[in-house]
Each structure stands twice: as C-alpha cells, then as structure tokens.
C-alpha cells in the first residue's frame, strides 16, 4: 500500500482519512496508529478521531479552526493540510498495547439459532463449524453500529456467510454473529441482519466505565466454547 492515502470531507466538521478500501490487518494498523497519533498531538479545533477498517474519521470544530487559522483557505482545506503532514509523520504500527481476550461462547441451539443453517451452507457438521470458528484468533478492526459493537475478523473462508435477507427485529444481547468474513458480538439487544451462531454472557458494553466497551480497536479475541 505504501504511503498512499486520501482525505475526503464529510461535510464541514469532519473528514475521513482513507488509507485504502479493504479489510486488511496492515491497513488497519496504519489506521489505529494514525488515530492514536492525532489524538495524542491534536491540532487546534480537534474534537475526536476514531478508526474504521481502513480509514480514520477526524471530527473538528470549524469555529476554532477558523479562529486559529492564518490563511483564507477553507476550514476543511486547512484541516486536510494539517492532517496530511501528520500522516507522513505517523508510524505504520500503533504503539497500542494489544490485548488478547478469551470470550466464552454458548453454541447451543437456543443461543445460536442460525448455526445449523450456517454449518449446512458451509458443508460442515455443527461440531466442525464450531471447531474451525474457535480455532482462529480474531482482530478487532473497529467499533461501530452500537456502543461496544466490535467488528472482528477475518473469519475462515470456509465459514463465510451472507447477511440474512430478512434482518431480525430483535437479536439478543451477547449474540455472536457472522456476516461475510466478519464476526461480531451484539452488546445490546437490537435489530440486526447477521447470522447468529452463538451467544456470550460477557458484558461487551460497559456504560459506567470511562472506557465504555470491553474491546478496543487492535485487540485480539479468541472464542472458547463454553
């Protein structure tokens, strides 16, 4: 990928710094490193920066940027310029201390209603599906969708699943889902379209903590059959 990136405006108070358009560990490393670097050494008017798979959303207050700017260019241009300089300076790997978390998952039929269908689609027995699914260590690429919802991957090619054509109006809290080659845990009961293969009783959303999610981008997760 080299040092290629582009900065695109998302309206007047945010830009997206895009390093690519793929689910890749290398790209995501750059993303997390850049989000950390910009948060640690912000420009005037900076509000927050958060990682997606291969891009960083940077939010700012246009009023502060304008007040502190010495040029007549647009706010978005001056933020983009400040960010470009920092992309070049940022490391390709974050210094974030990667944690490995083990999460117990219940794969019983009531906990994972889509598991039989998923196994069938993959041409595997349920036991083999679980064995392959739990053999791998998953990376947390980003959080989104719901507070504490971690997008993880990369799921074995053999286990790849389509989204449900008819999303459920309610998925139970703690449900472990697969969509494409991503996996994730619903931190709260919510509507959703992922295939539900199991359920954990570990709290993913920690509203009373100033770090309100169990998982953070860059963490690694192992599922253990309970």
């Amino acid at each position: 990928m080299g040092s290629g990136f582009k900065i695109v405006p998302l309206g007047l108070d945010a830009v997206s710094v895009e390093f690519g358009d793929a689910i890749s560990i290398d790209l995501n490393e750059r993303v997390i490193a850049f989000a950390d670097a910009i948060s640690a050494d912000p420009f005037p008017g900076f509000v927050e920066a958060f990682p997606a798979y291969s891009s960083v959303t940077v939010v700012f207050d246009p009023r502060v940027v304008r007040r502190t700017s010495t040029t007549t260019e647009t706010v978005v241009d001056s933020v983009s310029k400040a960010l470009s300089e920092r992309v070049d300076a940022a490391a390709s790997r974050s210094s974030y201390e990667r944690r490995i978390l083990e999460i117990q998952v219940d794969f019983s039929p009531s906990a994972g209603p889509d598991l039989p269908e998923c196994a069938k689609r993959s041409g595997l027995s349920i036991a083999d599906f679980i064995r392959i699914f739990t053999a791998r260590e998953y990376r947390v690429f980003m959080l989104g969708f719901l507070p504490g919802f971690a997008y993880m991957g990369i799921v074995d090619k053999e286990l790849e699943q389509p989204r449900r054509p008819d999303p459920r109006s309610r998925i139970e809290k703690g449900s472990v889902g697969i969509a494409g080659r991503q996996t994730g845990i619903y931190p709260l009961a919510s509507p959703g379209g992922w295939q539900i293969v199991g359920r954990t009783y570990v709290e993913m959303f920690l509203p009373r903590s100033d770090r309100p999610a169990l998982l953070a981008p860059g963490d690694r997760v192992r599922f253990i059959q309970s």
């Binding site: 309206g11 997206s16 798979y53």
Partner: protein, 321 residues
C-alpha cells in the same frame, strides 16, 4: 424547582449538542436534530449553547411547572398553549408554579423544543447530558419522558425581560424545502443521469424515518457499476445511496460508520429544514461549494453570537439588584 410530565407525548427526550470523544467505542454523538432551534432557545434563556433542551415530537408532552420559571419554546409550530391560551414560540416567557404547557396540533414542522433558564438537572454520561436511547444512558434515566416524571431545573431566580428572536434567525421551515449539499466522497460513482436527477427531481420523505435517518422515496439512482465498499466514517447530514437505488439522509442518531456510498452531505445551515420534515413532505437538492457552505455556516454563527450577547446583556440588566 422543576416540572411534572402530565402527558408524555411521543418519544420526547432531553438532548444537547452531542456526546463527543467516544466514537472509537462505537458511541455515536446523538444530540438535538434541529440544532438551530435548540441553540436559539438556549440563547434567549441566557443558557450556554450546549445546555440540554427537551426535544418533542407530535404528539408533544403536556407539562406542568412545579415552580416559577422562565422558558422558551422553539422549532415546529405545534399550536403551543400556556394554560390553554395560544402562545407563539421563539420568545422568552415567564411561568408560575402550576402553569401548564400543552400543544394542540401540528401546524408546521415536526420537532419543538423546550428550554428553561438555568437548564434541567440531568444525568451525565460520558461528558454529555443528552439521552442515548440505544444505550439507555444520559438525559432523564436514559429514556424518553413518561407520565408522572418530575424533572428538576437548575438554579434560577431571574425575571423574564422581553426577548424575542428575529424571524430571520430561524430557518424558514417549509414542507417542500430545497436544501443545499456538498459532494460526498463517493459522489462520482453515480451515473451522470443519476447525478442530474439528484439535482433536479424532488424526493419524498418515507414513513420509516426517525432520529437515525430519513429515508426518501422517488426516482432510483444508480452507480455506474455495482459498487461495494467497507464501513467508513459518516456524519449528520450524509446522504447514502442504498443498494435498491434509494437515498437515506443520516440524522442526529446516525451510527459512527456506514457501508454505503456517501454521495453528498447536506450543509449544517440547511439540516434544520430536513429535521422539521414529516413523512410525505417533499425535498429537493441543490449543490454548493464547500467555500459557500462554510460562509453560510459562519454567517449563522455570527448571528447567533449577536443574539446570545444581546440576550445576556438584557438578562443581566433586568436582574441587576
């Protein structure tokens, strides 16, 4: 010092200007959907810009003040009444203990705001007093108000001088606005025909629209070739092109990221016009440059600052011993 909810209305929540700094944990900013109306209400009250206000849909709540207070209504015209007598919004008013605010019918717009001088005493969650319904946190017990809720006010003993916000400061609410947008990152994936349709044809607001997003119905737009992208950043006002060719405008409770092409972003100056639409209303789009969009943004900020300063001056003068 406070107010009692006599009737809850439909999903009325306390909102401020949003919760920032927790996007990396999937916590979306939320906040008021019509920022102009909410900020003008706070300016008239002499409150800080980010003071929470009660965001009300129609049917709106019926509220009894349990202490004397000074308040402002703003946003949609829901035929507001004070003890049954019609009152207009956009001005500072005094109320006495026992007075009742109610709303008799929706006349224009969709969302009204109640601000009180001194603010409401609410629950802080991650640095914001606004309600996050998905998480069940912040605001008043993390939920919409219910019948019988007693909501307390912050300290305030001031009388109300005559303060009215100029009409020109409020966005001109209409059920068929043309709103301005800047191009989004994936604007160029549309066919020329679709790009033209976006600018020339009006769309209707669909029934399944809420604080997360407004779905539009109308002509289907199409990408030049099938387009797939992975989840990346979105914003309040982002217009996404869905796989079925329809559009969705992301609103205040949008998620932090999304996986559909971002063809445009509605400018902040015009987002209040979108916020006040109801299903069936029509909306058209007009492209502006980023530079024009920023100029409009700063123009409103200047006007609001003038109002805020003038109100502070009058309120201070009134309450000088």
């Amino acid at each position: 010092m406070g107010m009692l909810i006599l009737k809850p209305g439909l999903l009325a929540t306390f909102q401020d200007l949003g919760r920032r700094g927790f996007g990396r944990f999937g916590v979306n900013p939320g906040g008021v959907i019509d920022t102009a109306a909410a900020r003008i209400a706070n300016a008239l009250c002499g409150n800080s810009d980010s003071e929470p206000v009660l965001e009300m849909n129609f049917p709106a709540p019926e509220i009894k003040f349990t202490s004397d207070c000074v308040f402002v209504l703003s946003g949609a015209d829901l035929d507001a009444r004070l003890n049954g007598s019609p009152i207009v919004s956009g001005r500072l008013r005094s109320a006495s203990v026992g007075d009742v605010v109610s709303f008799a019918g929706r006349r224009s717009g969709a969302i009204a705001y109640l601000a009180v001088r001194g603010g409401f005493l609410l629950e802080d969650w991650l640095g914001s007093l606004g309600t996050n319904l998905a998480a069940g946190m912040g605001g008043f017990h993390g939920r919409a108000v219910r019948k019988g809720d007693q909501v307390e006010f912050g300290e305030d003993h001031s009388a109300a001088p005559r303060l009215i916000a100029s009409h020109t400061l409020f966005p001109f609410y209409t059920p068929f606005p043309t709103v301005r947008f800047v191009r989004g990152p994936e604007h160029e994936i549309m066919t020329d025909r679709s790009a033209e349709v976006l600018r020339k044809i009006t769309f209707s607001v669909s029934a399944n629209s809420n604080r997360m997003g407004f779905r539009l119905s109308g002509p289907e737009l199409s990408p030049i070739e099938p387009f797939e992208m992975i989840s990346s950043g979105v914003n309040f006002g982002t217009i996404q092109l869905l796989p079925d060719g329809r559009l969705i405008i992301l609103m205040a409770d949008h998620q932090t990221t999304g996986g559909y092409p971002r063809i445009a972003t509605i400018i902040p100056t015009d987002l209040p016009l979108v916020a006040q639409l109801v299903p069936g209303d029509k909306i058209g789009f007009h492209e502006v440059t980023l530079e024009d969009a920023e100029n409009l943004f700063f123009e409103f900020e200047r006007d609001l600052n003038l109002l805020r300063t003038a109100c502070k001056f009058k309120l201070d003068a009134q309450n000088r011993p």
